[in-house]
Symmetry: C2
C-alpha cells in the first residue's frame, strides 16, 4: 500500500519546484539571505559583509528578488533589500537538521572489507 496519498505533480509543476530549490542552491545567495535575517540592508552593506564584488551581489539580489524572496526599497541613491518571503528560514532549518543527522550518524566514507 502506498504510504503517500498526494497527487503527483506533472513535469511542468515539478520544474517550478526545482527552480525554487535552484535559487537556494548558491552559497552566495544563502549568505545574502543570512545577512538579511538581521533586517534590511543596502547593496553596499552586503558587499562589505560578503567577500565578493558589487556586481555579483547585485546579480544575486536580482535573482532572489525575481524569485519573490526579497523586497527592495529605494532610499535616495541606495536600495535596501529585505526578506519578503520567509520560506528560507524553515527551509534551511530542515536542511540543517538533515546535515546534523548525517553528521551524527557518522556515515562511513570508507568501508573496505574482505
Amino acid at each position: 500500500m502506498p504510504r503517500n496519498t498526494t497527487k503527483k505533480l506533472n513535469r511542468a509543476a515539478i520544474e517550478k519546484v526545482a527552480e525554487v530549490f535552484r535559487v537556494f542552491s548558491e552559497p552566495t545567495r544563502l549568505q545574502i539571505l543570512q545577512e538579511l535575517r538581521d533586517g534590511p540592508h543596502s547593496v553596499n552593506e552586503l558587499v562589505e559583509s560578503l567577500e565578493t564584488s558589487q556586481a555579483n551581489v547585485s546579480k544575486q539580489l536580482r535573482i532572489l528578488y525575481e524569485a519573490g524572496v526579497l523586497a527592495k526599497e529605494k532610499c535616495g541613491t541606495q536600495v535596501f533589500y529585505s526578506i519578503e518571503d520567509d520560506i528560507v528560514v524553515p527551509l534551511c532549518e530542515l536542511v540543517c537538521d538533515k546535515l546534523n543527522r548525517d553528521a551524527t550518524a557518522q556515515k562511513p566514507v570508507f568501508s573496505f572489507s574482505i
Copy 2:
C-alpha cells in the same frame, strides 16, 4: 533589534547547505523522488515512469544516493531504491506552499506603465 538570534554559519557550512538544495534542484531527480514516495522501485521501473534514458536515471539515482537521500538494495540483477531520508517531503511542501502563495498573490509578470 535583529529579529534573528541564530548564530551565523560560516562559508563552509553554508556551502554544505547549498549543496543539499542543489540535489533537489533538478526536475528529473524530483520526479524520481515522487515515484519513490509510493515505495521502493527498481531502476527499470523508474525508467518506464520517467521519460528519459536508463543511463540518466542511473546517474541521478547515484547523486541522490550519495547525498544520503536514497537507500538501495540489490535483489538479483535488480537494484531497488527507496527513500532513506524523508526530508524531501516537508521540503517540497514548503516550496509548494510558496508557489501557491505566489500564484494567489498574482504577482505581475509584466508591469508596463507610462
